[in-house]
């Protein structure tokens, strides 16, 4: 999928009700994101091109193309899930628009002033210890909110987590890859996400006995916490040269104890991170509440 080639000027002509439009980012190869004022409030405006070739190949029942279907699911999930740690939907739902004669779809969502963790790590390095537990608790809450609707985020990674400037809260973004357990049609999309943040079971998507549930997102959260605590990805070591090797390591390699890398990391917190990285879902946490409880204890110095 090609990133739409759009400028702020193009958006101004397409959205008469938005002003002060600026380019924000190009996301995940599929979306281009602008910011703009709508009724004096700043929002993120997400534009993408529908994948018309994919809809042409599908039956009448599946006539919505995959890009539009994902966007619909993203907006629907934002509308359903009520969590202060999930990005909120904006005033405009999915709309189609022609720009320079080409079809586009777009929607709006909350604009969050802050920095995503990928950039935070580049600029500042690892998070302070209290921030790590806070990150764990906030993103657990977000995953829980999505799971209440029998959905899995499938793309929990530093680039999709924003640290708010206003209060330091962590917000989970981008629900474009959310998997709905109650919607069989979503299997059309197969294993998607960012491979180096995949859970072992996410890679085994087609195995009929594989259990895919919120514990898959907990694994990805474990990788994020490990990275933000140590500065290192748990499954990338010195000799790792390709994402294929990382994926293999995710399946087979036991990560190094993070407390050995970051000496001031409390053992209790290190144990939680290692447990999240267990190869089998059964060895992680069976309820997100139990994880939050464990993180809360770890944050006050307990084990």
């Amino acid at each position: 999928m090609v990133i739409p080639d759009l400028s702020a000027e193009d958006i101004k002509t397409a959205m008469s009700d938005a002003t002060d439009i600026e380019l924000l980012s190009r996301e995940g190869g599929q979306k281009i994101v602008f910011t703009g004022l709508i009724e004096n409030k700043k929002w993120a405006l997400k534009f993408m091109r529908p994948n018309l070739s994919s809809s042409a190949d599908q039956s009448v029942e599946d006539s919505v193309d995959d890009v539009t279907a994902r966007a619909q699911r993203e907006v629907e999930t934002m509308q359903q899930c009520q969590s202060p740690f999930l990005v909120r939907p904006g005033p405009i739902g999915i709309k189609s628009v022609y720009i320079k004669g080409e079809p586009y779809i777009f929607f709006t969502e909350e604009f969050i002033p802050g920095i995503d963790l990928k950039n935070y790590k580049k600029k500042t390095g690892v998070l302070p210890i209290p921030e790590i537990t806070k990150l764990g608790i906030h993103i657990s809450e977000a995953i829980s909110s999505i799971w209440n609707w029998a959905k899995i985020h499938r793309d929990v990674k530093p680039g999709n987590i924003m640290r708010k400037d206003s209060n330091g809260d962590f917000i989970l973004l981008d629900m474009g890859l959310v998997f709905d357990l109650n919607d069989a049609s979503l299997s059309l999309f197969g294993p998607v996400g960012t491979p180096i943040y995949f859970s072992p079971e996410q890679m085994d998507f087609n195995h009929r006995r594989t259990v895919l549930d919120f514990r898959s997102d907990l694994f990805s959260l474990g990788i994020v916490l490990y990275e933000m605590a140590t500065g290192q990805h748990p499954f990338i070591n010195k000799g790792t040269t390709s994402s294929f090797e990382v994926v293999n390591n995710i399946r087979t390699m036991a990560p190094e104890n993070p407390c050995l890398i970051r000496k001031d990391l409390p053992q209790g917190l290190g144990d939680i991170i290692i447990r999240l990285l267990a190869k089998r879902p059964a060895l992680r946490f069976r309820q997100i509440g139990l994880l939050i409880e464990a993180l809360t204890k770890a944050s006050v110095g307990g084990k």
């Binding site: 919120f214 514990r215 089998r280």
Partner: protein, 402 residues
């Protein structure tokens, strides 16, 4: 770890006496061996006298899949009688819904029960179609319990699994992944043993994985795990996280096997045995315990229960006539309960070490008797002790790779 009585035929006053002495903390009732009205009366009587006793009811639904079973009183229970002789094809979604609601409806009618236990079927392999039916029954029970019964008492999902299924580790892991996020209080676990095997002798790979299975459910996922039909190895099950074990008086109540429900010939009267805590085995009173007595070592083999005096005062051979089935049962409960209690309160990491020490001490004691030319029946031991040690080692290897 509270020990429960695994009830069955011939309970007489054993359960009341066990509760009174404190060596058991409750009972798992058996509909095969009790008519509904009597079972309800008995539950009410227990609850009135022993307010804190745990009272559970195993619906024994697995017997519905046996043709011409020895099901005794089970046909007087509607949930069983309506569904006798079920084949695989009868477990449709509608069928499963009905079986579950009927089995739980009966339990709902017995006010005194402390938990619901879901109906289940036995399976031989974690990947066979019966295992999927078992999952379907449990999931339906959770749904019915949540929606129709408003979770008015806790629910245990029942699983009845062949011992040999546990040799397949990959299948076991997949199964654990599937059940370990269930929103339920815990599990009632039955290990279906090969009917020809002695109850203490497991396959060490299978037993190691059974320990792992219990550990993952209890210690990792905080479920209560009730292990039915358990015997001498109960203390090892506790060491890895089991919350309760249950043990009965006859061999077929200490060792779960579907042979209990299959047509069979007449069984011989079993020889009388003494439950020796130091040996971690039920040894024949005559000639084994008598031989220990004859070399002047009787105190080393005694469990220290309130019933020992019968054999001490008369000598084992002469005292055997006073060693009734009831005394043997109460003595056994007291012994295995006290072994398990000696582990309680210890940190989880320490419990397995203590269990291993106990097994090694039993091995040493067996060896010392054998050196003095006492011969033990193979069903007495000590071969089971090495198997247990190997199983514990297998378990340790499993959890070290977490």
């Amino acid at each position: 770890m509270p020990l429960l009585a695994q009830s069955g035929y011939g309970r007489a006053e054993k359960i009341q006496k066990g509760l009174k002495s404190g060596c058991i903390k409750g009972v798992i009732l058996s509909p095969r061996d009790e008519e509904p009205a009597k079972l309800k009366d008995f539950s009410a009587e227990l609850r009135e006298t022993y307010n804190d006793a745990l009272i559970l009811f195993d619906p024994q639904f697995y017997a519905t899949t046996v043709l011409c079973p020895r099901d005794q009183n089970l046909p007087s229970y509607d949930y069983y009688n309506n569904n006798k002789g079920l084949s695989r094809t009868k477990f449709t979604p509608q069928g499963i819904q009905r079986y579950v609601s009927e089995a739980l409806a009966f339990q709902n009618s017995v006010q005194e029960l402390s938990y619901y236990i879901s109906p289940t079927v036995i399976f031989e392999d974690f990947r066979d179609s019966w295992s999927q039916i078992s999952l379907g029954l449990a999931e339906q029970a959770i749904e019915h319990w949540s929606k129709d019964l408003s979770r008015n008492k806790p629910l245990l999902c029942s699983l009845a699994i062949s011992e040999f299924a546990f040799r397949n580790r990959e299948g076991l892991d997949e199964f654990l992944d599937a059940i370990s996020a269930w929103d339920v209080n815990g599990f009632y676990l039955l290990i279906n043993r090969n009917s020809t095997s002695s109850n203490a002798i497991f396959d060490s790979t299978a037993l190691g994985n059974i320990l792992y299975f219990i550990h993952v459910l209890s210690r990792i996922n905080n479920y209560e795990v009730f292990c039915g039909y358990s015997d001498w190895h109960s203390f090892i099950l506790e060491a890895v996280g089991a919350s309760h074990t249950a043990c009965g008086w006859f061999q077929n109540l200490k060792n779960f096997s579907m042979s209990r429900f299959l047509p069979a010939g007449r069984a011989r009267q079993p020889r009388k045995r003494y439950s020796s805590g130091p040996l971690l085995s039920s040894i024949l009173i005559n000639p084994e315990l008598e031989a220990v007595y004859s070399i002047g070592s009787l105190p080393t083999a005694l469990s220290g229960t309130s019933h020992d005096s019968i054999l001490v005062n008369h000598g084992p051979a002469a005292g055997e006539q006073f060693w009734s089935g009831e005394v043997a049962c109460l003595s056994h409960w007291e012994t295995i309960s006290s072994i398990a209690s000696s582990l309680s309160g210890q940190p989880a990491s320490k419990q397995l070490e203590l269990a291993t020490n106990k097994i090694n001490m039993a091995k040493t004691l067996f060896r010392s008797f054998q050196q003095r030319e006492i011969i033990f029946d193979p069903s007495t031991g000590p071969n089971h002790l090495d198997i247990w040690l190997q199983a514990i080692q297998n378990f340790k290897n499993s959890i070290s790779s977490f």
